[in-house]
């Protein structure tokens, strides 16, 4: 399985547009994992038929008040400050818990058991010949990494030749979780000051994680893309594709349609992108 993550740095540069259209052109069995679990949107374009849904839970401590003697070892062990102990009564703030299990191990009275806490869900379905996995984090939850891990594990369990990962924007933990150990990262950017700045952060992230990467320049039009192209050439970063800044493309995307299905010219653009990625992966 060849695993390719689509990431960006800046949000709104066209990660999902690239991911869903790329999924259409490999001519190989493909699974697409939507790891932008705070705002999954692959389904808006692919409209998969959902086959099943499952809950995503994380383990959190539960205290047996009959066994607790109030020594507060759990509180001392918790580096996430999620536990207080008043008298001999421990209190957990579950939204701060990172499920590390340190409190359970530290308790001298074995008064702690771990119970599951629901934080979101995973959906699995199919669109055209593409298998689609989608993670959704419940509103108000702070930690998306456990859902991303579950979505990626599910995607890896498929027999597909290609696994595409639609990553969240930025360069923080959820993105690191989405691109960890992939074979290639496609960084989508746009020729704006923010696009340029956040691309440099995303490039630094890929370098630190020892990941191979290349860039797709979206909304590219005469003149404005020069600064970014010069920068990429200097840095010897491969430019995989340029998507033109066009009213036609904006209209198709706004209608929730696939560029590859709307116009053979765009199908060709994404086929070339797929070929370039495969060449880069094996270079």
């Amino acid at each position: 399985m060849l695993t390719i993550a689509i990431a960006s740095g800046k949000g709104g540069t066209g990660k999902t547009t690239v991911a869903v259209n790329l999924a259409m052109v490999f001519n190989k069995s493909t699974v697409l994992a939507d790891c932008d679990v705070e705002e999954p949107n692959v389904h808006l374009f692919l409209r998969p038929e959902w086959k099943f849904e499952e809950p995503v839970t994380i383990p959190v401590p539960e205290f047996d008040k009959n066994l607790c003697t109030g020594q507060a070892r759990c509180r001392e062990a918790c580096r996430f400050n999620a536990i207080v102990v008043l008298g001999d009564s421990p209190l957990l703030f579950p939204e701060l818990c990172h499920s590390c299990g340190a409190c359970t191990r530290a308790c001298p009275e074995q008064a702690i058991t771990e119970i599951p806490r629901l934080i979101g869900k995973l959906n699995q379905g199919q669109s055209r010949s593409i298998d689609v996995i989608m993670g959704t984090l419940n509103i108000g939850e702070a930690r998306s990494s456990p859902i991303i891990q579950q979505v990626r594990a599910r995607a890896s369990s498929f027999d597909s030749e290609i696994c595409l990962i639609d990553a969240p924007p930025g360069t923080t933990c959820p993105v690191v979780e989405s691109v960890r150990d992939v074979d290639y990262v496609v960084l989508v950017t746009e020729p704006t000051p923010f696009g340029y700045h956040d691309l440099t952060l995303a490039i630094d992230m890929c370098k630190q994680m020892n990941l191979k990467f290349g860039v797709v320049l979206n909304r590219s039009h005469d003149g404005n893309e020069k600064k970014i192209l010069t920068f990429l050439e200097k840095q010897k970063v491969p430019i995989l594709a340029q998507i033109p800044f066009s009213f036609d493309i904006a209209t198709i995307v706004s209608n929730g349609e696939l560029l590859t299905e709307a116009n053979p010219e765009y199908h060709k653009l994404f086929s070339t992108l797929a070929k370039n990625i495969e060449l880069e992966v094996h270079s």
Binding site: R75, F80, L91, A142
Partner: protein, 120 residues
């Protein structure tokens, strides 16, 4: 009566710190100003999360009965309330000014959090 005021320095004349969980220090005194000491809260000031919760834990461990501060968030409020500690908000100026304002009935205990929580 043991009273703690969130402060930016370590004397009674220091400006108050309007933040509770990430206050730099607390000026603690008992019996109408005798026996004044300070609690250094820099460990929680630099905590990546849960500063309010652990500062509240510390106040409970110290046996503080009244907190005078600027604002209080929902998690710290929950802990302080469970510990039976009275929370006075709206502190201003120096610790002395806020203490006098409380004594004279110009600052009051709050019945709920005055700030929204932070996820982290």
């Amino acid at each position: 009566m043991k009273i703690a005021i969130s402060a930016q320095g370590n004397t009674f004349e220091s400006p108050i710190d309007p933040r509770f969980g990430r206050a730099k220090q607390f000026i603690v005194f008992e019996n109408e100003g005798e026996n004044i000491h300070t609690i250094d809260n820099s460990i929680n000031l630099n905590a990546m999360q849960g500063a309010g919760i652990q500062t509240a834990q510390r106040m409970a461990n110290e046996g503080v009965q009244v907190i005078i501060t600027g604002h209080i968030g929902p998690k710290a409020f929950t802990v302080l309330q469970k510990a039976g500690i009275k929370i006075v908000t709206g502190a201003f100026g120096t610790c002395r000014e806020s203490y006098l304002a409380y004594k004279e009935g110009r600052l009051h205990a709050t019945s709920g959090p005055t700030n929204e929580g932070h996820s982290f």
